[in-house]
């Protein structure tokens, strides 16, 4: 099985985990982004949202599981075909919540381009933006190395 190990800087990543964990807590009860369900009837809608929430919650747990004791000893996280998909989805969910909670004031052009003066941001927004970039990097790494495993699974 193809497996990718990435050595991360503990000093950089560890402080971001508090923000990720804080937002992850809310993702068990609320969808990362509201979804337009059109004319789907109420009963079906509840089941639909319930299944999305269950999946979202499991995905977020897979993301948090990356940062275990081994990570805090060695700074290493590992991706393989079993955890790649849930981690990709969890990164998307947390990034959506980061935008909603901390980054809306930056504007969508800045979020899409990533061109921002970090020194000009307040501490909570700077930390949130760093998380936003970090999770995008995780997604890019997985796509770069495990794209075919995900597509074929």
């Amino acid at each position: 099985m193809k497996r990718v190990e990435v050595k991360l800087s503990l000093a950089v990543v560890a402080p971001l985990l508090d923000v990720i964990k804080q937002l992850a807590g809310g993702l068990g009860q609320k969808l990362a982004a509201p979804q337009e369900l059109g004319d789907i009837d109420t009963e079906f809608r509840d089941a639909w949202v319930g299944e999305l929430l269950t999946g979202q919650s499991a995905d977020v747990q897979a993301l948090l599981a990356l940062f275990d004791d081994e990570f805090f000893l060695e700074g290493v996280v590992a991706f393989d075909k079993d955890n790649a998909e849930p981690i990709m989805r969890a990164c998307a969910a947390v990034r959506l919540r980061l935008r909603e909670v901390y980054l809306k004031g930056l504007g969508d052009d800045i979020l899409e381009g990533g061109d921002v003066e970090l020194e000009e941001l307040s501490e909570p927004v700077r930390k949130a933006f760093m998380c936003y970039l970090f999770l995008a990097t995780v997604q890019e790494l997985i796509i770069q190395y495990l794209d075919s495993s995900i597509i074929e699974s």
Binding site: Q35, L52, L96
Partner: protein, 101 residues
């Protein structure tokens, strides 16, 4: 949508609505969002619809530049399944009737 209650029982109302909902052609439309990476969206299109890299990139760019792309059309039940899957991946996906047919 209105029903003629004088002529139809609740069960036939339900049947009529279900028939209407399930009949015809439905579109799966993906809407733009400022958060998800282009490479992520391309990967999802390849995985979910079996698109080639070229087709996936074309739909992704359509979403990015025009705000929306019709990624699939067909029967309602399958369209719902696709919308659900895309929403699991946190894309903004909606179902709409294809009124061009």
């Amino acid at each position: 949508m209105t029903f003629d209650n004088a002529k139809s029982s609740p069960s036939t109302e339900t049947l009529s609505r279900t028939e209407l909902e399930l009949s015809g052609v439905w579109r799966v439309v993906v809407l733009n969002d400022p958060v998800n990476l282009m490479s992520y969206v391309v990967m999802i299109f390849k995985k979910v619809f079996g698109f080639t890299e070229t087709a996936a990139r074309r739909h992704m760019l359509e979403v990015h530049e025009q705000g929306r792309s019709v990624v699939w059309s067909g029967l309602r039940e399958k369209a719902e399944a696709y919308v659900f899957t895309l929403q699991q991946w946190h894309l903004t996906a909606v179902l709409e009737p294809d009124e061009t047919r």
